[in-house]
C-alpha cells in the first residue's frame, strides 16, 4: 500500500458571524491522499470546497473556526497545532497552496524574485540571495517559464503567466502536498491546458508528491485527477475513482452535475439546457435528512428525516438512501421520453 501523505478524519469547520450565527461549511469530511495521487474535489459555488482547502491546511483565521476532527500530515495532527508552529513547519514546506484568484495573489509592489526570496529565507536557514536566485532561475527554466519573470512586477505579467508564476513560487520548496484551489477558473482554454500540463509535470518530476485539485468543472478533473470527491452543502456526497464518478455517477447530485455540462454541438441553441433546479440549503439552519432533498427529482418521503450516512455499496461510496441498482433504474426511466 502506498504511503499516506494526508489523512482527514471527520473534519468539521464553521464560520461564525458577528451575530453569533454558525455556518457549518465543512461537515464531517474524511478522506485520504496517497503518495503520487491527485485528488479532485468538485462541487458548485458555496459547497465548501475552498473552505475545505483552508481547513486541511490548518489555516483557521476568523471568521473560520475549527470545530472537530483531525488532519494528519506526516503523522502530526495540524488542526491542533499552534499557528506559529504550523507556519514554521507545515505551511509552504509540507503543504502548499495555489489560490483561486492568482490575479490578485501577488503583492503588486514587489518583484517576483523578492517574494521567492522571502519565502525561501523563511524556511531555509542561512540561505544567501545568490543561492536563492540560482535555485529560482533553475526551477523557472525547468518549468518552461521565462527567467526574466523573476525580475518583473506582477502587473507586467499576463493572467496565465501570473498563475504559472504562482504555481512555481508555491512549489519552490518541494512541498509534499499541493492544494490547487480552482487554479484554472479564470483562464482561457489554452492557458488552462498549459496550467494543467504544468501541474502534471510537477507531480511527474517529483517536485510535489501529491495534489488536491479543486474545481467546479467535473470534466476537467477527468483530465488530471485519480480520485474525485463530490461535495454538496458542506458534505461529501460521493467519492470514488475519477472514471466512475465522471461516467457513472451514483448520487443524484453528481448525476445532475454531469448532465448539466454543456457540450458544444449542432443545434445546442434551440435545446433546453439541463439544470439542477433550486439552490443549496441555508447552512445556518440545523439540517435534517438529505441536504439535496429539495432539489432532487428522485426524492421520496424517506429522504426527509434522520441523518443519512455515507454508505459503501457495490464498491461505491455515496450518501443516499437508495441502492445503486435502484438509482440506476431511476436514471434510465428519466432518460425515456415522457410520452411513453
Amino acid at each position: 500500500m502506498a504511503e499516506m501523505l494526508l489523512q482527514v478524519e471527520n473534519l468539521k469547520s464553521v464560520y461564525k458571524t458577528r451575530f453569533n450565527e454558525r455556518i457549518v461549511a465543512v461537515d464531517d469530511v474524511s478522506f485520504n491522499l496517497e503518495n503520487g495521487k491527485c485528488l479532485g474535489i468538485a462541487g458548485e459555488s458555496g459547497s465548501g470546497k475552498s473552505t475545505l482547502a483552508m481547513s486541511i491546511m490548518g489555516y483557521y483565521h476568523p471568521p473560520l473556526f475549527y470545530e472537530s476532527g483531525a488532519i494528519y500530515i506526516s503523522g502530526i495532527d495540524i488542526a491542533k497545532l499552534p499557528y506559529n508552529q504550523l507556519r514554521e513547519k507545515i505551511l509552504g514546506k509540507e503543504i502548499a497552496y495555489i489560490p483561486q484568484a492568482a490575479m490578485n495573489a501577488l503583492n503588486p509592489t514587489q518583484k517576483i524574485i523578492n517574494l521567492v526570496a522571502d519565502v525561501m529565507k523563511e524556511h531555509v536557514k542561512g540561505i544567501t540571495i545568490n543561492e536563492i536566485k540560482k535555485i529560482a532561475e533553475e526551477r523557472f527554466e525547468t518549468l518552461n517559464l521565462p527567467k526574466d519573470v523573476l525580475q518583473r512586477y506582477p502587473i507586467e505579467l499576463s493572467g496565465g503567466m501570473k498563475q504559472r508564476t504562482v504555481i512555481a513560487i508555491s512549489t519552490i520548496l518541494n512541498p509534499k502536498i499541493l492544494v490547487a484551489d480552482e487554479p484554472t477558473s479564470a483562464l482561457d482554454v489554452t492557458s488552462q491546458k498549459i496550467v494543467i500540463k504544468l501541474l502534471k509535470d510537477l507531480l511527474k518530476r517529483g517536485f510535489i508528491k501529491a495534489m488536491i485539485f479543486i474545481t467546479h468543472e467535473l470534466p476537467l478533473l477527468y483530465n488530471i485527477a485519480d480520485e474525485i470527491i463530490v461535495m454538496y452543502a458542506g458534505e461529501v456526497v460521493e467519492s470514488g475513482k475519477a472514471e466512475e464518478i465522471i461516467f457513472d455517477p451514483i448520487h443524484p447530485y453528481s448525476h445532475g452535475l454531469m448532465n448539466s455540462i454543456i457540450v458544444p454541438e449542432k443545434g445546442i441553441k434551440g435545446k433546453k439546457l439541463a439544470v439542477i433546479p433550486g439552490a443549496p440549503p441555508n447552512l445556518k439552519l440545523k439540517l435534517e435528512g438529505c441536504r439535496f432533498f429539495e432539489r432532487c427529482q428522485f426524492a421520496k418521503d424517506e429522504c426527509k428525516n434522520g441523518r443519512i450516512d455515507i454508505k459503501c455499496a457495490n464498491e461505491r461510496n455515496y450518501r443516499c438512501v437508495f441502492g445503486v441498482e435502484e438509482l440506476k433504474e431511476m436514471y434510465e426511466d428519466d432518460k425515456k421520453p415522457a410520452t411513453t
Partner: protein, 334 residues
C-alpha cells in the same frame, strides 16, 4: 523610456503654466483689497506735522518710491522683471527692509518648526494606524476613538489648550516667542536651550493634531490591504506576520505619501494660526502682519513662496510615486 520622458515634459509644462498664473494672481489679489497702504504709512510718519504741503510731498515721495503712481499693468511688468532678478521689492510695513530679507529670516523658523513636526506626526500616525488595523481588539478600540477625537480638534484650539495647560496652569513651558525676549539670536548654548524650550509647545500641538488624521487614513487603508488576496497567499506560504505587515504598510502608505507632500508644500501657510497663537517668529506671523498692514510686496512674496512649495511638492510626488509603485509608472508611460 521615451514615453516616460514625454510624460515628464508635458507634466513640467503644466507646472510652469500653473506657476505663471499663480504669479499673476499673487500680484493682483492683494492689490484688490480696498484701502491705501501709503496713507497708513504717511499718517504714521507725519503725525504732528501741520503743513499740508509737506504732508502731500511725503505722500508723493512714498507713492513714487513704491511705484504706486504708475498704472497697474506697468507695476506688474516691473514686478515681474524684478522677480526675474530675484528682487521682490521693498516692504511697505517694515520700510526700508527688503521682502527677500524678511522672508529669509522668518522661513528658517517656519521650516525649523514645521518640517520636523509634519514628518514626526506623519511617521507616528502611519505606524499607529497600521498597528491599529493589524492588532485590532483592545488597541484599536482605544486608539480609534482617541484619533477621531484629536483629528476633529482645530489646531489653533488645541494650541490654546496647550498654552493654558503647560504655560499658564503648570508653568513648565514658555507661552510665546521663538526664544526668550531678553536674548539676541547668537550661536551660544543658552540661546539654543531657550529656542528648544520655546519649541516644545508649538511642535507638539502640530504633531498631535497631525497624528489623528494620518492614523485614521492609514488605519482604513491598512484594513483594506490586510484583507487583500496577497496577504492570505503570503500567510499560506508560511511567511511571518511581521513580514506581511511590512508589505501591507508599503502598499497602504502610498496614498499617504501624497498627503505628506501636500502638507509639506502648504507648511508655510498651514501653521499660520499656530504661529500666531505662540507668537512664533515664522512666516505665518509675517504673512498675518503683512495682510493687516496691506503690505502688497510682502503678501505677494509670502504667497509666492507657498505656491512654489506646493508645486514643487506635487512634482516630487509624481516622481516618487513612479519609483515606488510600478503600477503608476506603467500608467505614466501610456
Amino acid at each position: 523610456m521615451k514615453s516616460y520622458r514625454k510624460y515628464m515634459t508635458s507634466k513640467i509644462a503644466w507646472y510652469v503654466l500653473t506657476f505663471v498664473v499663480a504669479v499673476f494672481l499673487n500680484f493682483l489679489l492683494p492689490r484688490l483689497i480696498p484701502g491705501n497702504p501709503v496713507s497708513t504709512i504717511v499718517s504714521k510718519i507725519t503725525s504732528g506735522m501741520a503743513d499740508t504741503n509737506s504732508i502731500k510731498r511725503v505722500y508723493e515721495t512714498f507713492e513714487k518710491e513704491f511705484g504706486l503712481n504708475k498704472p497697474i499693468w506697468e507695476q506688474f511688468m516691473i514686478y515681474v522683471s524684478n522677480l526675474i532678478h530675484g528682487n521682490m521689492g521693498t516692504s511697505f510695513g517694515q520700510y526700508p527692509r527688503k521682502v527677500t530679507d524678511i522672508l529669509a529670516s522668518s522661513i528658517v523658523w517656519t521650516i525649523g518648526l514645521q518640517l520636523p513636526a509634519i514628518i514626526v506626526s506623519w511617521i507616528l500616525g502611519n505606524v499607529l494606524g497600521v498597528l491599529a488595523a493589524y492588532i485590532k481588539k483592545g488597541f484599536d478600540r482605544v486608539l480609534f476613538p482617541v484619533f477621531l477625537f484629536i483629528s476633529c480638534i482645530p489646531s489653533f484650539g488645541f494650541a490654546i489648550v496647550m498654552v493654558w495647560l503647560f504655560a499658564v496652569a503648570l508653568k513648565i513651558a514658555p507661552a510665546s516667542g521663538g526664544y526668550a525676549f531678553d536674548m539676541i539670536p547668537s550661536p551660544t548654548l543658552s540661546f539654543f536651550l531657550s529656542v528648544l524650550q520655546h519649541y516644545q509647545l508649538p511642535f507638539w500641538s502640530i504633531v498631535l493634531v497631525g497624528i489623528g488624521g494620518q492614523s485614521l487614513g492609514m488605519r482604513e487603508m491598512s484594513i483594506y490591504e490586510l484583507n487583500a488576496d496577497y496577504v492570505k497567499y503570503c500567510r499560506l506560504l508560511g511567511l511571518k506576520d511581521s513580514k506581511i505587515v511590512k508589505y501591507v504598510f508599503k502598499n497602504a502608505v502610498l496614498p499617504q505619501i501624497t498627503g505628506l507632500a501636500l502638507s509639506l508644500g502648504t507648511m508655510v501657510g498651514g501653521a499660520l494660526i499656530t504661529e500666531i497663537v505662540f507668537s512664533y517668529p515664522g512666516l505665518g506671523s509675517v504673512l498675518f502682519n503683512a495682510i493687516a498692514a496691506q503690505d502688497f510686496p510682502l503678501i505677494s512674496g509670502c504667497t509666492l513662496l507657498i505656491t512654489t512649495g506646493v508645486l514643487v511638492a506635487n512634482f516630487l510626488v509624481d516622481i516618487v510615486y513612479g519609483l515606488i509603485d510600478p503600477r503608476i509608472k506603467v500608467a505614466q508611460q501610456e
